[in-house]
């Protein structure tokens, strides 16, 4: 353990893992909320073109990927907000085009061997360069500040866009901001988890956490905690077992999801029992008034039998 921490590259990889572990679920939760869980995946594909451009022009692939990915994200958001019927087809073109373009650019650039693209695709702990770490830290800090600071506004637009508009929230601007943040997250996470698995770190901690939570705030907090834990564990495992870090992180996250979904049922039942509220009668004890029923068939039911608040209150779950 101490030996692992004595290496500079491992220190950088672990720091990057913490940043990515926080950022990816903090933004991913909004995409999941809007049922756009696979959007990050598409951005990962588009980012490949950026990496390819970085190779060709011998500039930083990370900054090139940020640029291309942000443009891609804005395009995706515009297609989504238009409510275009053929929107999914436009997106498919963007995703496949991005991936094909990236591979092509890398292969024409003289600089890079195949292994180098590989590290962008699957993540690698050996390749987090000091300047990469600075980029990751700056971008990550901005994304976290926005995702947490504008939590109520972003929650509102992802929950119900029309309603959010009536509260005066700048819906269009925030939608674009969210898309840009997702794009930045993809590129921030690229070095650690890899472009092909980046989306998993944005989605899996969120869906794992929500097996056990009931509120959005708790889901966000728990998914960030989970993201950090699996990222650190995955990078450590990658060092110990000499496997790429991306798959290690993602498989760990999926294992956590599996465990959480197994214990979710029993835990919920226990919460009900412990909640202190009586769960209501076990059997039906409502008497059906025999003759009174057939006498006035068309009449509205009596107030007592249709008053929903009473049975609910009895069955009310713990607050």
């Amino acid at each position: 353990m101490t030996e692992m921490l004595s290496y500079d590259f491992m220190q950088r990889a672990l720091l990057a893992a913490v940043l990515v572990g926080i950022t990816a679920p903090a933004v991913g939760i909004y995409l999941v909320q809007r049922r756009q869980a696979l959007m990050g995946d598409g951005m990962g594909h588009v980012a490949m073109t950026g990496v390819g451009l970085g190779f060709v022009f011998r500039t930083s692939p990370v900054w090139m990927a940020v640029l291309v990915c942000v443009l891609g994200a804005i395009t995706m958001e515009l297609v989504r907000s238009r409510g275009n019927q053929r929107g999914d087809i436009a997106l498919a073109m963007l995703f496949y085009g991005g991936m094909a373009c990236g591979k092509l650019l890398v292969s024409v650039s003289a600089q890079a061997g195949a292994g180098s693209l590989e590290s962008y695709l699957w993540g690698s702990i050996l390749t987090v360069a000091p300047e990469d770490l600075v980029t990751i830290a700056v971008l990550g800090a901005v994304v976290i500040a926005v995702a947490v600071g504008l939590r109520r506004q972003l929650f509102a637009i992802c929950q119900d866009e029309d309603f959010a508009r009536v509260t005066g929230v700048p819906v269009r601007t925030l939608n674009l901001l969210l898309a840009v943040m997702a794009a930045v997250t993809v590129t921030v996470a690229m070095r650690v988890v890899g472009l092909l698995l980046v989306s998993a770190l944005m989605v899996v901690p969120v869906v794992a956490a929500q097996q056990l939570t009931r509120s959005f705030a708790a889901t966000q907090a728990a998914s960030i905690a989970l993201g950090v834990v699996v990222s650190l564990a995955g990078v450590t495992g990658s060092y110990q077992l000499n496997v790429p870090s991306g798959p290690a992180i993602v498989l760990l996250a999926i294992a956590v999801f599996a465990v959480f979904s197994v214990i979710a049922g029993p835990l919920a039942r226990r919460r009900h029992r412990r909640g202190g509220t009586e769960p209501g009668p076990q059997v039906c004890d409502v008497r059906i008034p025999g003759p009174g029923r057939s006498r006035n068939p068309g009449q509205a039911p009596e107030k007592t039998s249709s008053d929903t608040t009473t049975p609910e209150r009895r069955a009310g779950l713990a607050q």
């Binding site: 506004q153 992802c158 119900d160 005066g168 929230v169 509120s215 959005f216 039911p301 929903t308 779950l317």
Partner: protein, 254 residues
């Protein structure tokens, strides 16, 4: 302008289409201060589209919209408006509690500032008004459809709006809760709020309604005092002779 206080809603000659199809073909709609207006009409007649045009989520191709006397383009006083969309699920891809969903109705009040005690108190009051306070900590996805509807109504009430816009608020709500909501609405009107309601049946709200506007195929077919039981009988094609025939405007019987 004849009124000293401008109307809450003034929609003039609104033309709008959705998915390339013209849906509103020149709708006029005015809601004066303190007035309760019911918007009626058959399925697909354009009621929801009219309401969405009023809140600006369906753009107008022609016509003008003023909210509280301000043209839509420069309107910023969103805290004065509460909106209940036509029955959608209150649930989304991530769990959220009833309290979290209702709290979004306070965004126009606290904006970028933190959510404070008075915001929290307003959420409690609104939840109490719809009889859902005891479920505040539960996930919205765990509620029945009618209960979710009540949560959405609370979300609109929480900002104490001057104009309430509700698209079929009573859909799926049982008789007892409808009465509770009617009482809530009465107190909202009592403190001076204007209300624009899309309804299919007037039901327990009937005594509250000052005016009914009936849409047919994107045009206003009737604008005047509510006719008892208008909800069903005003539907186009519903031309049988019934006890209220003398009260029903002749155009509706065509």
């Amino acid at each position: 302008m004849t009124d000293p206080i401008p109307p809450a809603v003034r929609l003039r000659d609104a033309v709008a289409s959705r998915g390339g199809r013209p849906v509103l073909r020149g709708v006029d709609l005015t809601v004066r201060p303190g007035e309760v207006v019911a918007l009626l009409g058959a399925n697909g007649s354009g009621k929801s589209t009219t309401v969405k045009a009023v809140i600006g989520s369906v753009p107008l191709e022609q016509g003008t919209l003023e909210l509280f006397g301000t043209p839509y383009g420069s309107f910023r006083a969103w805290h004065r408006i509460g909106y209940v969309p036509q029955r959608t699920t209150a649930a989304s891809g991530v769990p959220a509690t009833v309290r979290e969903v209702v709290s979004t109705g306070r965004l126009a009040q606290h904006r970028l500032l933190p959510f404070r005690r008075r915001d929290r108190a307003a959420v409690d009051r609104a939840l109490d008004a719809v009889g859902m306070l005891d479920r505040a900590g539960d996930g919205v996805a765990d509620l029945s459809g009618g209960q979710q509807q009540r949560v959405l109504i609370a979300r609109a009430l929480v900002g104490t709006p001057d104009l309430l816009i509700m698209d079929e608020p009573m859909a799926g709500v049982d008789a007892a809760s409808q009465q509770v909501l009617a009482d809530t609405l009465r107190s909202e009107v009592g403190r001076g709020a204007s209300v624009l309601l899309v309804l299919h049946e007037l039901g327990p709200l009937e005594p509250l309604i000052d005016r009914a506007v009936v849409l047919r195929d994107g045009c206003v077919a009737h604008d005047g005092p509510p006719v008892p039981n208008t909800g069903l009988h005003a539907l186009p094609g519903h031309d049988h002779v019934h006890p209220h025939a003398d009260l029903t405007p002749p155009r509706l019987l065509a």
